[in-house]
Amino acid sequence: MHIVVCTKQAPDTAAKMSVDAEGKISWGDSPLIINPWDEYAVEEALLLRDAHGGQVTVIAMGPEEAREALKHAVAMGCDAAIRVWDESFTGSDTLATSYILSQAIKKLGDVDLVLLGRGTVDSDTNQVGPALAQRLGFSPLMYVSKIDQIDPGAKTIAVERLLEQGRQIVSSSLPALVGTVKEINEPRYPSFIGIRKAAKMEMPVWSAADIGAEEAKVGVSGSGVTWPTVFAPPVRESECEIIEAEDARAAARILADKLIAEKVV
């Protein structure tokens, strides 16, 4: 079974974000890490490979920094890593990104399963997965909390999807695209041997020409969305009123009265 995991780099979730007058976004001294949602996708790919055989290829669209995410995935156990990048990809929104990733996956050929996190912690659009499934014509299986069954020979898959109302049980066909949610597994830490392997691994960079991407479909010209303004949210006025009383009962009653007066209960 050939499994592809799509990932990207993102600022650490604890990073303090800021934006300057020119609109340039900064995460200070915080490191770039693998998008945390994608660690679940990598883990699931490794579990499936180990159970069914085959190989896991991790791909990331991005400049040099994207190598860090790829290295993390390889250190966890992925077999091959490819970075997809071209200067012309700069400014790609999710429409263009899904096109670029779909071209790279088509170049890989016989892919049974694409895995990715449900979204990324930076822009948090959750849009690349569904758009990529649409472009590839793969069975769209987003928000998956469990893969109940997969049979690469019979080309079948059954999953549970975590929706607001509960779990939707879906059976479908391969090739499929699975977007994972956190509940699906417990991602492993990269091993020492894995980290050494990742440091040495050759990671090819595929350009627009390599994946046969049309110029009009990548970067700003291939995008539907621009984001001309980025700004810091207004500081929340939060003067916390600490309720002090002789005991818990008295404090609770004062709080209840205040919340009733605020009309929030």
């Binding site: 976004i25 948090d124 569904p130 109302q165 539907g224 929340r236 916390c240 709080l255």
Partner: protein
Amino acid sequence: MTTQGVWVWIEQFKGEVMSPSWEALGAARVIADTYGGGITACLFGAGVQGVAQQAIQYGADRVFVADDATLEDFRAEAYAALLAQLAQEHSPAVILFGATTCGRELAPTVAAALDTGAIADVTALEIENHSVVATRPIYSGKLLAKCVISERRPQVISLRPRAFPRPEPDDSLSGEIIEVAPALSEDEIKNKVTGFTTAEGQVSLADAEIIVSGGRGVNGPDGFAPIQELAQVLGGAVGASRAAVDAGWVPYAHQVGQTGKTVSPDLYIACGISGAIQHQAGMRTSKVIVAINKDPDAPIFKLARYGIVGDLFQVVPELTSAFKEKLT
């Protein structure tokens, strides 16, 4: 090609409409004048004829209803194929979705099918140069971005639940109901829904007006009992911090924060939650935040309107009985 009209996808589950769809109809009214052509609701399902009239009461001038067994369960393939086909026939300027789980899956699928832009999880809308300027949180709300789809149409936009007011239904409103046929036959849809398990009696976090959350301080699965009781008395939902979920005390579906749900209830009561930046990312837009924590230096107090420094196992049950008494 000239495009006109604002469309709203009406999301229903077993005949019941998700509130963010009504909020989207309200938001549609605000931008509809710019584009002419009124507001069109798109309603897909099986046995959903009755819902069409509701959409009119919430402000739709016209409702496309596709009522078919193939549309009974939400399936992105079937829904997107039909919505894209209708959009190609009628060229709307905007399609709005509630940014629920299904809405956030359907919107980018439709946008990719139509080769247009999609903006997710929007918290404010305005119009500039005939395009929608949509504000959305990025980096978990640490920053905000104003996004525009200036050239392509339709503009596909999903709206964060509870970010836009839900209009009052008005039964004096009238509109046109148009039946449409599905775009795909069952044979053409790869995904088959074979079951559904619901968590009984649970309030969805995204829609909840009140959320009572527990964190590391609840000390174990049993510690969620008083949290649950308070939520029940208030008619709210139970939330949790990552620490409580990772410890296995409550299922992941309850997690609020950067790797969980983003919520903005009227009231958020954080019990035994220190308030790490990742947790704040998921709840900082709540209207009133209450913190109950033993540690007076916990960062959650910086975000809270009201705080009680104390043992949640004493305070929360007292709060429950106070509300029981005062709210009846």
